[in-house]
Symmetry: D2
């Protein structure tokens, strides 16, 4: 597929030279898009060449404040011209933006991916989709710790969903250590984001009646060797998802509860804290911790694992983890850009570079 794409303008085989920065477009400047933009903007090897909005709306203000060039999601003149009377300078349509870009991060609302992919391919830019799109459409998927190398120099990929990213963070190192892993997971999902006041339920638990759910098996798009099924319920909270995980390790794994914790402590983007000692016993206190340490938007890019909620009982490992649905995939998008551009083949090196840059604007 890749060699069929003559339009691809740049970096066909070996990545950037030292003097260049990767030019990144953000198509869709909403919950995910605005966060990816800031994370990209902080990287020394990348720059934001523009972000898109569908129409002149209050959300444009944020782009203006940050100094990101503003483009229209569409190409027709009428829509583009509508920005000026509202006081926003619109630099053009999506096509104009793509001409400036090496790679586009697609943060548009789900289910328009197939149409967008064609646009990106035709424009000769690499593309990154989010987890709302299907693996089959994107042709490959990505998390930093699972399959960075397999995404090197690919024309495009999909950063998997917040839930899958979170599962990958803790399960991939377990698999890598044990050589085999079978997992049953229940996802207790926040029903709406904090800034979304339209969705319910206000007072109910909503099971996802498709059993098993799609969430767990999605891990296999980045690490096919892990056998995983999941069930999911939505509950009336806005803060975080919580995973209740049972992992069956192979006989002779040689691990203990403590050595599992150590494994995760050596893994990036996992925070391990003891609920009893810190009084961080619910997702509310986890989010308060993120606010306290000065994280922008109160985000938590890391997966939160309760130390006292981990127990290895024979070959069965039980643990809880909390997932900040608005932000855990943000650094993965940055790493995925480096993978596609072929500028960093070592996932741990990319992660270290990404996280150090993010730390400059994101508290401690």
């Amino acid at each position: 597929m890749m060699d069929e794409e003559p339009l691809l303008r740049s970096f066909t085989t070996g990545g950037l030279g030292n003097r260049m920065t990767i030019k990144v477009a953000i198509n869709g400047f909403g919950t995910i898009g605005k966060r990816v933009a800031d994370a990209v903007d902080a990287q020394s090897d990348m720059e934001i060449v523009g972000v898109t909005k569908t129409r002149p709306s209050f959300g444009c203000d944020l782009a203006v404040r940050k100094g990101y060039p503003l483009y229209c999601t569409f190409n027709d003149k009428e829509r583009i011209d509508a920005f000026a009377p509202a006081g926003y300078t619109c630099m053009g349509g999506l096509s104009d933006l793509l001409e400036q870009a090496d790679v586009v991060v697609d943060c548009s609302p789900g289910k328009v991916g197939a149409a967008n992919k064609e646009i990106y391919v035709n424009a000769g830019v690499k593309y990154i989709f989010q987890g709302g799109e299907k693996h089959a459409m994107a042709e490959r998927s990505y998390t930093s710790s699972a399959n960075h190398e397999q995404n090197l120099n690919a024309p495009g990929t999909r950063v998997v969903s917040c839930n899958t990213t979170g599962l990958s963070r803790t399960l991939v190192p377990l698999y890598d250590r044990c050589g085999s892993l079978k997992v049953e997971c229940t996802m207790i999902r926040r029903a709406a984001d904090p800034g979304d006041s339209a969705k319910g339920p206000i007072n109910a638990i909503k099971p996802v009646l498709k059993v098993p759910s799609h969430h767990g098996p999605d891990v296999m798009t980045v690490k096919p060797e892990i056998q995983i099924n999941s069930m999911a319920v939505a509950v009336p909270t806005t803060l975080m998802h919580c995973h209740s995980i049972v992992a069956f390790l192979p006989p002779g794994h040689g691990l203990t509860t403590e050595s599992v914790l150590d494994l995760w402590r050596n893994q990036p983007r996992i925070i391990i804290m003891n609920g009893g000692e810190t009084n961080i016993t619910t997702t509310a206190e986890v989010m308060e911790y993120a606010r306290d340490i000065g994280r922008k938007w109160g985000d938590l890019h890391e997966i939160f694992v309760w130390e006292d909620g981990v127990k290895l009982d024979g070959d069965t490992l039980y643990f809880f983890q909390a997932i900040h649905q608005e932000s855990d995939v943000i650094p993965e998008n940055v790493d995925a850009i480096r993978a596609l551009m072929g500028t960093e083949s070592d996932w741990r090196a990319s992660v270290a570079q990404t996280d150090a840059a993010i730390a400059t604007y994101n508290g401690i």
Copy 2:
């Protein structure tokens, strides 16, 4: 142990003669007590000889309206005399009540069981504790479908918690059919009852950091052959608990998704409905259904299983069930009375009798 209890006044070996009704005391007339009282009151072979309150309070009104003799939870004259000025006729203290009773259903707040047990034994009455008390204290536990026969003529027992009762309803017939069963369960628990406005969280998920939790293993107090572990989280809803269950059937089980459903359809106190067809897709709509069919307090004594949330995948069975925490144990308490009194040795016969009587006041 039983033959060491000479004080036991009645029904030592064979139960009631035809002419007699079992005299039941309710110690503690709160959320559970008021419901057990009504269920017992509806049975033709039982009568309520009294209920207790700790002090004259608004809750006494309900006992007065129902015509249940009102007693004080304590025996000292001062406390008993405090009821009259508040306008309530108090018939005496707990000891006076126990003199009238064959069996006492202890519905007092948890953790006072050990002291109460001594009082009951000394008074020569049989006793039933609720799931808030420990199995070891009560010496045995009970659910109708799991171990009715083993409780026949026992001096006392413990009706297990709402969660354990619910698990027993669906898992015991599976075990009985398969001869072996291993279960991992995540309990998504309502954080407070509908009439309790003091407890939170308002906007958080709270994992129970003791892993595995005590809830699942409690099933083994009534059916030791089932291997079960559980994890639990509390979520901001008041209506029902929801169980996300993974059951590993033994090879050669011969079951299908449909035959599992049929097994449950032939089991009492399980409601199976299709969420897609009925639009009953959350615990809110389940509770609305209970209101619609005229259930008192809007209760649902049955376990609710979503037909389209059941999937047997090879040897692994996935399903969701919803548990009405305020009421599913109510009919079990009635059956447990018959077990202790030795008046009905067939659990299915007792269940049929209990449920038919409850139906007279409890909608369709």
Copy 3:
């Protein structure tokens, strides 16, 4: 207008003879319709001739259980015929139902009133709309205590919304006593009904930005003499609305906090309780009280006023009241039927008859 309606089949001037019952159709058998049906069904001077559903759905079961003849909301054969394959006996379309009826209670979802009114007028039946429809369309509005007499023998009316009905219950007697009344009210509204899991917000307060809101002034459709404005917010709860009311009494009113309470104690459909004494301090405990006293669906037809939340400070009266949005208008619908049919001209007599009949199925 009334004498222009030659099609009106019955009760043209004086109401029913002794031997007859009022034939009532319910158009729309949902949250309100099912409750009105039961209330009507309990009246000795009324009978349900049928209820409508738009299509064969799970909600039809309730009609079948209650024995109410089932009709289709529409008249086309295809839709009517669709009920049989689903196992329901459909007696015909709306027109067939209206032929059997003296009066139709329109409980269809809001905003279809104008079209329905024409159907009802053409069919020669009297009609009652709910508060979701506009006063101008219905031409008049109704609450039992405000303007029963003005609705006598009218062709149709509108039972005002749950909020307006609740305000009318407490404000009309105040006005009648004082001869003048100016009111500012803030309505803290439940955002969704208990059985509705789709709507939010989960964690927010939503002010109604149209200021003043329409809720308060709607009182003037039944009692134009009361000067009232209101503001409203929606909050994440499903149980009840709560009104925070400031009423300015005219100088020389001669009332005290206690005499205001007495005024309300002599008014039907108001419950006054002391939060401090009963521990009923939130809408959760109010609803629990309704469950405890055995109310069907856990409904509370009465307005709940906290005795210790009432304070007359000079000429300014402060009080809170809680409104059960699913049910407070139910008895008003029954009274409205008698008003339109002209069978009972005394509102207090109608209320007494309605409430006594409802009490037969509705707890204490």
Copy 4:
């Protein structure tokens, strides 16, 4: 009173010389304390000389990260020595801290104010209490726009609560313009803070049965000329309080809806936005806006007024405002320090200085 305080070490009559910074101690480093510390730390004329914690706990980490000297709330050696084994350097007890300070901001949990005041007075430091303490104890109260000048050089004051501060922001300029103001206000209060998962209710509205509530009249501690009463309810949300306000202007006020808005636009610490245009229609979206513009902790120091929720109808002004309970008093604490120290007598100058400094760490 002031001239009776010979212990007062510094700035007795005229404030700081140019070369000095005000030395500020924070007694209690929790929700309010940590925010006040950061706001003070950002001011060029102030410095944090230390913060206190009752014991070595997870909350100390934040002080360490920020570089604030850590002290023990108590003076006994045993408690002070307990910090070292937990890995924290404790500089001493409260008395040691007060020796370093010109002014202490008391952010301890409510109701210990009287005891603390004696300590502060004896130590010769000026003191600022928070709204949880009583006006009578503190002897005077403070908001920047209401009575800065009256607090100049006072020995101590009380920054009023979040609600009172919010009311003062919008009502004081109205009063100043009109010369008379009568207000009825309903406060719809968040029931718990975002990081507090213990409190309910989960699904209820809880009226404050003391009517009128204390919240509104508290405004008169800073602006006695405003006549105000209030009612309050708590609702299941964690984000913000919302005020529903009816203000009666004197005849001849000469204002219009638009001129009221202009009045507020010229007032510091009020944000006015149009809900219809911005889609910011609930407190959830208001808080999301604060996150978007990069505010630390996602705080909003300003009062939020919905432009389309303001309506002047004759002499009656209706409006809604949203109050971020965790943070709106933070800049007021900074201004109050300058008032007590006598270093800036013009409230608008202090506000401008405070807010400019806060903006350096607090987004746009």
